[in-house]
Amino acid sequence: MNDLLPRGVPVQLIDAEGLVRDDDGYAAPSTAALLDGYRSLVIGRRINDQCNALVRQGRLAVYPSSHGQEACQIAAVGALEAGDWLFPTYRDSVAVMLRGVRPADAMVLLKGDWHNGYDPYDHNVAPLTTPLATQLLHAVGFAHAAVLKGENTVALAMCGDGATSEGDFHEALNFAAVFRVPVVFLVQNNRFAISVPLSRQTAAESLAHKAIGYGMPGERVDGNDLAALASVLEVAVARARSGGGPTLVEAHTYRMQAHTNADDDTRYRERSEVQEWVERDPLTRLRAHLTRANLLDASAETAIADEAEAIATELRDALNADTAPDPRALFEHVYASGNPQLDEQYELLRGELERSREDAR
């Protein structure tokens, strides 16, 4: 039963220099898959850069950058089929967009227009969740329902290293294992919860070591190695789909930028530490690998760069467009079944607005 323990070292198929590491347990993805993954990495990085710019320009209220963690989000989305569901956090906007949500819609929350900007059922993406670890339980319930309904859906739930300390993390993994539901838990261990280092979240050898305590397999993977992530998640998703129950995957990565634009990470970590991780960047390493293998030439690079630029432009244009959300929205959706008290309150607001319009005249 100790086979539920993760390996001593994280699974790695392509190292920081872009060299292939053979692994007897996990096969590397096809070169086609890697090329497509590289494309997504470039796009994801561009999205992060663009959003950082937009927050500086005041077009976004806040942005939690996933710069350096893009491989995790790309692999997560890549492992799922269209009918499957993704349960993202506030840091997973890139994954949400890769899943098909229009960039502008994905950013509505962070722009401040509304709480959630897309219909979750359009692309099977749950709303971005901020209360930490709570979405893991939603994923488990969703997957449990799928089993009860006889649907072959897999739910992939993401959270950070800090979130693993919350009670909801524990309850989610336990429910998932007890009911053996098709969920994959992907922990992006980026070594920080805002300013708090991993050492304050756990004394265990790894976060994946928690899995055996629930009776599910745990695995650790290099979170900056798209190839390894893809293979490990493929196995986990396949296990879930075939009735093998949940898996806990810990991706070892790093939050290369501040927690959000509002954070100042110079207060709590050394630049040298950040620099070490820059050298393990998921994008540069895959580029090195593909170039060395002559799978990536200048023209391909340009094509990908153009595609990324197009998305960045779409994002920029959408967010630069000024929006004036309708105050009615505050009341419209609170109850589907109506509420007389809210009707009275909306009338109050409407009266105010009309009077102020009159004054304006």
Binding site: P120, A336, G338
Partner: protein, 338 residues
């Protein structure tokens, strides 16, 4: 409320006499029969049938996949209910006792209550959270909290508290049909009170009931305080005072129309609730009546509520609980000219 026309198969032809626990059990069974998206889960709700036997027989009749026990974790129960609702099911979950719903508070307030709104109605939460509430059963600490005010103060939740077996049946059916999340408060001490239940009776959520006609003053009550109000009215009648009793039934939405009309007709009001009174549902009722019936009021609105202390241990609970005498004392202070 959205209505569905299906009528359950297993429903007794006409009205039968049931305890409130029996009425709730029947409502669950009828709802599960009528709509196979409805499922029941929680702690000990399966083979045991719940510590109050309210879910008795549901697993046997509908199977493990429709009514089942979960691991012992309330946030887990409510949080997975959210996920099930996302995936098209209608979870009816039980919190074993009021105070044991607190671990689920974040899931209830930040997700159950808000999901429909934050998704602009795209993702509704037709969840029912059943909570045996309040005291009067000689329970030890943490088993008799009246936690309704926490839920009533939370926008997005619908909160219902029946006082009769018929309302328990009809309102629970409505709650399960309701596209919004409903906190369904079951007065523990009334679980074994009997009454006629006609499954054909439909009662919309949000409408109060005049439980007793009266002309001198209005007693506003809900859940456990309704029988106390009725008893007080009966005693008052002997003393020559005619007290009207309003049973709110639904706390959110709140039936201003019925309450205002009632209080305006008598000009005097006493609000009765078992929960600690400070910043409570009773405060809201008193504040609304005072504001909306200002020019009709002959006397200040009085509140008879639990004291602002942790719920009493069994041997002291009779001092804590609002009772007929305390209600009549409050009525006596309503500035009668006679």
């Amino acid at each position: 409320m959205t209505m569905t026309s299906e009528r359950p198969a297993a429903t007794p032809a006409a009205a039968t006499t049931l305890t409130m626990a029996g009425a709730i059990n029947l409502a669950l069974a009828d709802a599960m029969q009528a709509d196979d998206r409805v499922l029941v889960f929680g702690e000990d709700v399966g083979v045991l049938g719940g510590v109050f036997r309210v879910t008795d027989g549901l697993t046997a009749r509908f199977g493990e996949s429709r009514c089942f026990d979960t691991p012992l974790a309330e946030a887990g129960i409510v949080g997975t209910a959210v996920g099930m609702a996302m995936n098209g099911l209608i979870p009816v979950v039980e919190m074993q006792f009021d105070a044991f719903a607190y671990p689920a508070f974040e899931q209830v307030v930040s997700h159950v209550a808000k999901m429909g709104n934050r998704t602009r109605g795209a993702m509704r939460m037709p969840i029912v959270i059943r909570i045996p509430y309040a005291g009067g059963i000689g329970g030890v600490e943490h088993h008799c909290d009246s936690s309704e005010s926490y839920y009533v103060h939370t926008p997005g939740l619908t909160v219902v508290a029946p006082a009769t077996p018929q309302d328990a049946y009809s309102l629970l059916r409505e709650a399960i049909r309701c596209p919004d999340p409903v906190v369904f408060l079951e007065p523990k001490k009334l679980y074994w009170t009997k009454g006629a239940v006609d499954p054909a009776v439909e009662t919309p959520i949000g409408r109060a009931r005049i439980a007793r006609e009266g002309t001198d003053a209005t007693l506003v009550a809900y859940g456990t305080s309704v029988p106390i109000a009725l008893e007080a009215a009966a005693v008052a009648e002997e003393e020559g005072r005619s007290l009207q009793v309003v049973d709110l039934r639904s706390l959110t939405p709140y039936d201003d129309e019925t309450v205002d009309a009632a209080v305006r007709s008598t000009g005097r009001a006493v609000v009765i609730a078992e929960a600690p009174g400070f910043a409570s549902v009773a405060s809201e009722i008193a504040a609304r009546i005072s504001e909306r019936c200002f020019s009709w009021l002959e006397a200040p609105v009085r509140r008879v509520t639990g004291f602002d202390v942790p719920y009493a241990p069994p041997k002291l609970e009779h001092f804590y609980l609002p009772d007929v005498d305390r209600v009549l004392d409050a009525v006596d202070t309503l500035q009668w000219d006679d």
